[in-house]
Structures are given as structure tokens and as C-alpha cells.
């Protein structure tokens, strides 16, 4: 096994770039009178969520680091730190991201952490920074374990994860409509990710990619952005608070409130934590599947179009 390895914390180093890019997008929108919207409290909330997420990493990062280093001690494999190893690790980490992100939308326990990223009704570069404060509590870092066991050093795995997050920053914009066809075919782009942030029935649970949209095309979750059905950003049930604490913890509060309801079986309590968002023991709420079905009942002409079984 390779000994001491360290990589720069690229997300921290990117902070000046993030600020400059946000100012540039704002200037673009102001000059062109198109390409997105900004609102003061929404943007400030997103930025505070981003700062809090960095702080959470500084405070609790040792949990994931400790777990991954433990695995590194027991694996007999070592892929090294060559350029090829970095490239393979980056691609595998993006595949890891796809599945973690998909779980983040399909398992309420993980959604409770990820939901805050979708809680803005705006879609601009500050939305990219609206990141979780509670990722450690989901224990989803366990999905990084196979990469370490395959011989990628934890420092390299975390470095690639940081690069992945930085890539995703620039795709949170309405200022870029569409990119060349070859690029849209392979890479995650503003257009693909706008669809992911749409609360329209069509766009629920699609486009989980981090860097390569190929994963969605491979696993059947790709939905192209439709010009006649523009993404409506936000949550199915939008939150009514700019308070970062409520943004960070509202779904956790919802889970525990639901699990503590009187008269439920243990299975029902467990499902309130682990079933897809929108699950309810009495059918009083709708999951994404139910929302899509309701939409098709009202708009049968959409059957078979992207996002509705095609």
C-alpha cells in the first residue's frame, strides 16, 4: 500500500472561483435580461448552506476518513497514484456518485440530507452551493468502500469526489441553454441538470449524473429537457422558510414526526424512513410514481413522451 498521500482540498481552493462566477452570472443576467433569476434571501440561504457544508466537512470529515482509512489498512490492493489511476478513480467515483445520488432521491433517509439542495425555487450558481449539512448522518459514505477496497487510496477517492462537485457547480445555470450535441451526449450539462431540478411530474427522478450523463442513458433514467415543458424548479411541496436550520433539518424533522405517529406498525415506521419520499402508510401522500400517474390521468397525451415511460 502507498504510504502518506495527500491531495489539495479542491472545494476549498475553488471558493474564490465560485464567488467570481456567481458575480459574473449575475452581471450576465443583469445585462442580457435573461438567463436566470436571483433573489436576495434565496441566494444568501444557498450561500450559507454552502459555507455550513464546508464547516460540516471540517468538523465531521474524520468519520468518513476514519472508515475509509480502516478499509485501506485491510485491502491488499494498491492502484497507486499514476495519472491512469487518477482517471480511473475519477470515472469510478462518478459511477459511485450516480448511485448515491439515485439513492438520495429514492430512499427518504438519504433524501433528508439531499433535499436541501433542491429546496430553492431558483436555479443559479448559488443553488449549486446549497449543499447538505447532514451527509455524515446518512452513512452513505459507505458506498465509497468498494473503491478503497479496489486499491484507490482514500485521499485520491476524496480528491476525485471534490473534482466531481466542482464540475457540477457550473451546470447550475439558466444562462447556458444547450451545448454542442456531442457534449450533451456524453457529459452532464446545464440542460440535463435543469431537468433534474424540475418539480414537474415529467422530471421527477431523472438525470442523476454528476459528470457523465452516460450513466443515466445506461441505467434508463435519462430525460432530456423539453422546450415545451420547461423545468419548474423546487420541491413538489416547497418549503416556506429561508432559515438555513429549517432548510437543513426539515426533512429529518418530518421523518421523526412520521415515525413517532401513534398506531403504526414497526414496518410502517421503518418505511417512513426508508421508502421513497412521499410514502405514507394510509396513501394520503404521493410518491413520484403516483405524481406521474396522476399527471397522466389529467394529460393522457403525455404518455410515452420523455419522463412518462419513454
Amino acid at each position: 500500500m502507498t504510504g502518506q498521500i495527500s491531495y489539495p482540498d479542491v472545494t476549498q481552493l475553488a471558493v474564490p472561483f465560485f464567488i467570481a462566477a456567481i458575480l459574473a452570472e449575475l452581471l450576465w443576467i443583469a445585462l442580457k435580461k435573461r438567463g436566470g433569476r436571483y433573489e436576495t434571501r434565496d441566494a444568501v440561504t444557498s450561500l450559507i448552506m454552502g459555507a455550513g457544508s464546508v464547516a460540516e466537512g471540517l468538523l465531521l470529515g474524520f468519520v468518513a476518513w476514519g472508515l475509509l482509512m480502516l478499509l485501506w489498512q485491510i485491502t491488499p490492493l494498491d492502484m497507486g497514484t499514476s495519472l491512469w489511476a487518477v482517471l480511473v478513480c475519477f470515472v469510478l467515483d462518478d459511477l459511485r456518485y450516480y448511485w448515491v445520488h439515485r439513492l438520495g432521491h429514492r430512499v427518504r433517509w438519504v433524501w433528508a440530507s439531499h433535499v436541501n439542495h433542491h429546496s430553492s425555487q431558483h436555479y443559479n450558481l448559488t443553488t449549486a452551493l446549497r449543499q447538505t449539512w447532514t451527509g455524515t448522518f446518512t452513512f452513505i459514505m459507505i458506498v465509497k468502500a468498494p473503491m478503497v477496497l479496489l486499491g484507490f487510496h482514500p485521499a485520491l477517492v476524496l480528491f476525485c469526489g471534490g473534482l466531481n462537485l466542482i464540475y457540477q457547480f457550473w451546470i447550475h445555470t439558466e444562462a447556458i441553454t444547450r451545448l454542442p450535441r456531442w457534449f450533451e451526449a456524453v457529459m452532464n450539462t446545464p440542460s440535463h441538470h435543469r431537468a433534474h431540478h424540475g418539480r414537474n411530474a415529467r422530471y421527477l427522478d431523472c438525470n442523476y449524473a454528476g459528470v457523465f450523463i452516460l450513466w443515466d442513458r445506461m441505467f434508463g433514467t435519462f430525460v432530456p429537457e423539453q422546450d415545451h415543458d420547461r423545468p419548474d424548479f423546487g420541491l413538489v411541496h416547497n418549503i416556506a422558510s429561508f432559515n438555513p436550520l429549517r432548510v437543513a433539518f426539515h426533512e429529518w424533522a418530518g421523518i421523526f414526526k412520521d415515525m413517532a405517529r401513534p398506531g403504526l406498525t414497526w414496518k410502517q415506521r421503518l418505511l417512513y424512513a426508508l421508502a421513497p419520499p412521499g410514502y405514507s402508510h394510509d396513501g394520503s401522500r404521493s410518491t413520484s410514481a403516483g405524481i406521474k400517474a396522476d399527471h397522466l390521468a389529467r394529460h393522457p397525451e403525455d404518455a410515452g413522451t420523455p419522463g412518462f415511460g419513454n
Binding site: T40, A43, L47, V54, D232, A240, E251, K257, D294
Partner: protein
């Protein structure tokens, strides 16, 4: 990056962006009309059948009577949010009406209403509760 520098960048960046947004008029709350309140409700409750929309005089909220029950849609920055009123505690305050939705994602809301509006809204909400 040294922690002190990171903190300075983050604090300075957030403050600068907030100041620019506010000074360029991006802190205004959306104003609801009869039509936009209706659209806003349907955005939150697609397929609902709306019977009546009553915007507040200041345009920052509207009371909705719909097939799914009574509800409130209100301005949330440049956007809107909506909640049904079943299960909500509605109480009069000097400024208007206070709503407690018993929902962590929608903390207490106080709407500015004239005294005549307040009485009318209370009557409409009570009637909706009885009908339910």
C-alpha cells in the same frame, strides 16, 4: 488554504453578493393578483378545482377555496408557497391573522390584513372548516 483566509473569503463573498442583490432590487416580494394566485395554487396542487380566490389587499397572500379544501398561498421572496389550512391553527392578531401550520418546513406566518379583511377571512376559513 488557511482557515482565516477561508472564513474571510466566505464572509466577504456572502456579504458582497447579498449587498449587490439587495441594491439591484432583488429583495422585492412578489405581489399576487387573482390570476397569479390561482396559477400559484395550481402549481402547488396540480389538478385541483378552485372555487374562489381572495387575494389580500397588499397582494402578499391569497385565501383559496378549492375542491381539496381551504388553503393559503403567499409570497415567498420572488416566488410563492402554499399550504392547506386543515390542521392549521389560525388566530387573530393586531396586524391581521397568524397561521401555525404545525409543519417544520412552514413556520408560523403572520399576514397583514385590514380589520375588515381579517373578519371576512376568518368567516371564510370557518365556513370551509364546517364544510369539511
Amino acid at each position: 488554504m488557511p482557515l482565516e483566509l477561508l472564513l474571510a473569503l466566505v464572509a466577504g463573498g456572502i456579504s458582497a453578493i447579498a449587498a449587490i442583490l439587495h441594491l439591484t432590487g432583488r429583495s422585492e416580494r412578489t405581489v399576487l393578483t387573482q390570476a397569479s394566485a390561482r396559477d400559484a395554487w395550481l402549481r402547488h396542487c396540480p389538478g385541483d378545482s378552485i372555487r374562489q380566490v381572495r387575494p389580500a389587499a397588499d397582494g402578499h397572500a391569497a385565501l383559496i377555496a378549492a375542491q381539496s379544501g381551504a388553503g393559503l398561498v403567499w409570497s415567498f421572496g420572488a416566488d410563492t408557497v402554499a399550504r392547506h389550512l386543515n390542521g392549521a391553527a389560525v388566530s387573530p392578531v393586531s396586524a391581521g391573522l397568524q397561521f401555525d401550520f404545525n409543519d417544520f418546513s412552514a413556520p408560523g406566518l403572520t399576514l397583514a390584513l385590514t380589520s375588515a379583511e381579517r373578519e371576512h377571512w376568518q368567516a371564510l376559513i370557518a365556513a370551509a372548516e364546517e364544510a369539511a
